[in-house]
Structures are given as structure tokens and as C-alpha cells.
């Protein structure tokens, strides 16, 4: 089978890759582009660990074929913050101890960032519904929700 040539933007950089038609965007990110931030928790759209955005829209990378992102702009957790300049979401997740094993964390950061881009001042309930597709086996969610609300406050310029 001939591979498909795809050119797309990932975290602002122009990227070209070859993929099999069966490969998902998640396979492409992890196995071809060495972007292993997005995790495969289930592979069937249930867990949210593979969350990325395509043209600003939050999606599960395991439910998108690699070939489908031709000409799009993909954002992954690797495009958010840097070790010496954490994004407020990353800092607040650390400060709230809102992770244990960390498998869900990249997906939560990507999903929460997409929420705050369209709603800078969400209620607790809005955060809970938005993140309903991001499963966490470890934390019990409460610290995650509080970290997202704190990051939202910080991003609005309110002092913690």
C-alpha cells in the first residue's frame, strides 16, 4: 500500500509526514513526529488522553485519521508553555497537585486551554461538563477542576 503524503502545521511549524491510511492522528503524532505528549488511553474516544486541537477545535486524536489533517493547524500539549515558562494551567496543576500518574494531564491541559480560549470565566459546572470526556483514574477530579479555575483567574489577571 502506498503511503499518504500530508503537509500540515503542528504547533506553528510546517510539518510533512508520510502515513498509512489506517493510521490515526494520534499514531502519527506519537510514532512519526515524536510528539508523545498526547497519550493513548483507550483509542476509542472515551478517555480524552489524546486531546489535541485542529484549527482551534478540540478533538480526540485517536478519532481522526492522520490523512485528515492535510492543510490544517494542529496544536498539542508540546505547544503549550515551556519548562522554564509554564502556562498558567500547567503551573496551577502543579500547585494544586492535580496529577498523580500524569497520563490524563496533557489531555486535560489541551482541553482546558480550549475552554478558556472561548470562555475566560467559566463556572465550576461549566469546567466539569467541558472536561467530562477527560477521564482521570487517579485524582478524583476535584483538584483538576480547582486548578483550571485558578488558572482561569490568573489568566484574567486576578491575583491568587
Amino acid at each position: 500500500m502506498s503511503k499518504i503524503h500530508v503537509s500540515t502545521q503542528v504547533n506553528g511549524d510546517q510539518v510533512e509526514f508520510l502515513c498509512e491510511p489506517e493510521e490515526t492522528l494520534l499514531d502519527v503524532l506519537r510514532d512519526h513526529l515524536n510528539l508523545t505528549g498526547a497519550k493513548e488511553g483507550c483509542g476509542t474516544g472515551d478517555c480524552g488522553a489524546c486531546s489535541v486541537t485542529i484549527d482551534g477545535r478540540l478533538v480526540a486524536a485517536c478519532l481522526v485519521l492522520g490523512a485528515e489533517v492535510e492543510g490544517s493547524a494542529v496544536e498539542t500539549v508540546e505547544g503549550i508553555g515551556a519548562p522554564d515558562a509554564l502556562h498558567p494551567l500547567q503551573r496551577q496543576i502543579l500547585q494544586h497537585a492535580a496529577l498523580q500518574c500524569g497520563i490524563c494531564t496533557p489531555g486535560i491541559i489541551v482541553a482546558a486551554k480550549a475552554l478558556l480560549a472561548q470562555n475566560p470565566d467559566p463556572s465550576e459546572q461549566e469546567v466539569r461538563y467541558w472536561l467530562a470526556g477527560n477521564l482521570c483514574r487517579c485524582t478524583g477530579y476535584d483538584k483538576i477542576i480547582r486548578a483550571v479555575l485558578a488558572a482561569a483567574g490568573e489568566m484574567r489577571g486576578e491575583n491568587p
Binding site: 490515526t24 476509542t44 478540540l58 480526540a60 478519532l63 467530562a132
Partner: protein, 286 residues
């Protein structure tokens, strides 16, 4: 498997006419899950999302035409559509998580053929009409006429849906969709109901349609339930008659999500509650 991006709907029909195992791809939230779980791939997957206009919501004759590649998230963000058909939009928005909403389409929900597909009862109540393109050309078919059996529709070989039309409606009109699931998010309906009502100035129901999901091999229209509401202000007796008509229309399966008895009872409860919400949205005070 080959992956093909269709340039226009003609190309889709031509490809579907060829003797190959083809599979259409809209949002992929059913297609990719199925391929993954069954480890079976078609000869060819045909992506319909790049067909011009197919990812747009357009106003038409006072109603809205929803392209077959429009995501649930796009529908939820469209305030005029939401104002005209709040029940259809709330049904679509119940499909999966935010991530699933970013991809899932209403046409895909219909064509996947699940008896529990959330948007289908709401589309039936709304008398939605699918625009179908096939070897014989373009035709408009009521969504109801496309329902067939679990996992399949009545679409013919080489036919596919390019858009779904939600018609205009009078001022005093409202619709609603409700489902029962054991939790508040991310589950499949055990029983569900879509209701659409039109009222007169006095708050009396003059038109009604009631449809149920997850209680029969396909979603069902329950004309007896609609009849029970017409000419009333949703007082206790007509609501009781509506619930009884719903129960009579149920032929559900028994599974771990709900027994036959439970589904049959809850379908009527969902219909009555959806009717009350639709009534309030139409401007009525029950």
C-alpha cells in the same frame, strides 16, 4: 485501505457505484471506533468533509440547512439555529464529550443507525428532511423515511446525505429532547424522547409531534402521543394519555442498561417532561 477526499458530491456517488467495499467518513466518531474495535478496514474510505458547502449551516426559507459535515460544536455555537430548534440542538449536543462534539455530525448520527442515536428522535419531531444524492440525482426525503433497522438506513446503493433541513416554524413553537442515562454525561440513552409543539394565542397546543429513541429497533414516531396533546394545555390527563400512548409504542430490548419494563415506563416520562419544556419554549405557561 485507500483514503480518498471527495471534491464534490458527484464524485462520491461515482465512487460508491464502483464495486468496492466503500465507507463514507464524516466526523469519524463511529467509523474510527468501529474500524479499531473490529480490526476490519474497508477497501476505500471516502472523506466527504471537503465537498464545497458541506461544512456550513445556511438559512433557507426561514429554516436552516445543516451540511452533512457540520459538527455538533458548530451547531451549538449557532445562536439563531439554537433559537429556532433548541431541542434538535440540545439532542446533538448530548452526543459524546466536547472532543466528540468537535467532529460528530448529525447526518453521521442518523446514518450510523443506532436505535439510541440522540439526534434522531429530535429530528423526527422536527420533521427534518434529508437531502439525498445518488445515481438518480438529488431528492429530499423525510428523516423518518430513511429509518430502517439497527445499523442500517434505507439509503440506496451509492446514495448519501449531503445536508439535513430543519424547516421554518411559527412564533409560538418549541421543541425539546430528553434522554435517560444512569449518569449525567457520556452514556448511551436507555430511553429518550423528542417533542415539538405549536401553540395558539391562548396557549392551546395546535400541532404536536412526539418521537421516542432506544425503545424499538429504530426511533419511532408516536402519533397517539401527539394526538393526546393537541387541543390541550398539557394538563394532567392529556399528559397521562401521552405517556400511555408512548408505553404502547415501545418494543425495547432487555439489557444491563435497562429492563423492558423500565424502558417502557421511562419513555413516557421522558416524553411528558420534554413536552412541558417544549411548551414553555413555545411561550406557554403550563
Amino acid at each position: 485501505m485507500r483514503y480518498v477526499v471527495a471534491k464534490d458530491s458527484r464524485e462520491v456517488v461515482d465512487l460508491l457505484m464502483e464495486d468496492k467495499a466503500n465507507l463514507l467518513l464524516a466526523g469519524g466518531t463511529d467509523v474510527l471506533v468501529r474500524m479499531r474495535l473490529d480490526e476490519r478496514y474497508p477497501d476505500r474510505i471516502i472523506d466527504i468533509k471537503k465537498i464545497p458547502g458541506v461544512a456550513e449551516i445556511t438559512e433557507e426559507s426561514g429554516g436552516f440547512r445543516i451540511g452533512a459535515a457540520v459538527s455538533g460544536a458548530q451547531m451549538g455555537e449557532h445562536s439563531q439555529l439554537k433559537a429556532l430548534w433548541p431541542g434538535v440542538v440540545e439532542a446533538v449536543e448530548l452526543i459524546g464529550s466536547t472532543q466528540v462534539q468537535g467532529r460528530a455530525t448529525m447526518a453521521g448520527n442518523l446514518c450510523n443507525g443506532s436505535p439510541a442515536a440522540d439526534s434522531v428522535p429530535a429530528m423526527l419531531a422536527a420533521q427534518a428532511v434529508a437531502r439525498v444524492e445518488g445515481p438518480e440525482g438529488v431528492s429530499d426525503q423525510p428523516v423518518l423515511a430513511l429509518l430502517d433497522a439497527p445499523g442500517q438506513t434505507k439509503l440506496g446503493k451509492a446514495e448519501f446525505i449531503t445536508s439535513i433541513f430543519l424547516p421554518a416554524r411559527p412564533n409560538l413553537a418549541g421543541d425539546a429532547y430528553l434522554r435517560f442515562i444512569p449518569r449525567t454525561e457520556m452514556d448511551i440513552a436507555v430511553a429518550s424522547a423528542g417533542v415539538s409543539l405549536v401553540l395558539d394565542e391562548a396557549g392551546i397546543v395546535i400541532e404536536a409531534s412526539v418521537a421516542l429513541g432506544a425503545v424499538a429497533p429504530t426511533a419511532v414516531m408516536v402519533s397517539g402521543a401527539a394526538q393526546a396533546l393537541i387541543g390541550t394545555r398539557l394538563e394532567a390527563a392529556p399528559l397521562q394519555a401521552c405517556a400511555a400512548a408512548c408505553a404502547a409504542a415501545c418494543s425495547p430490548i432487555d439489557d444491563k442498561r435497562g429492563t423492558i419494563e423500565f424502558r417502557t415506563k421511562v419513555a413516557g416520562v421522558m416524553a411528558c417532561r420534554a413536552a412541558i419544556t417544549a411548551y414553555q419554549r413555545a411561550g406557554g405557561q403550563p
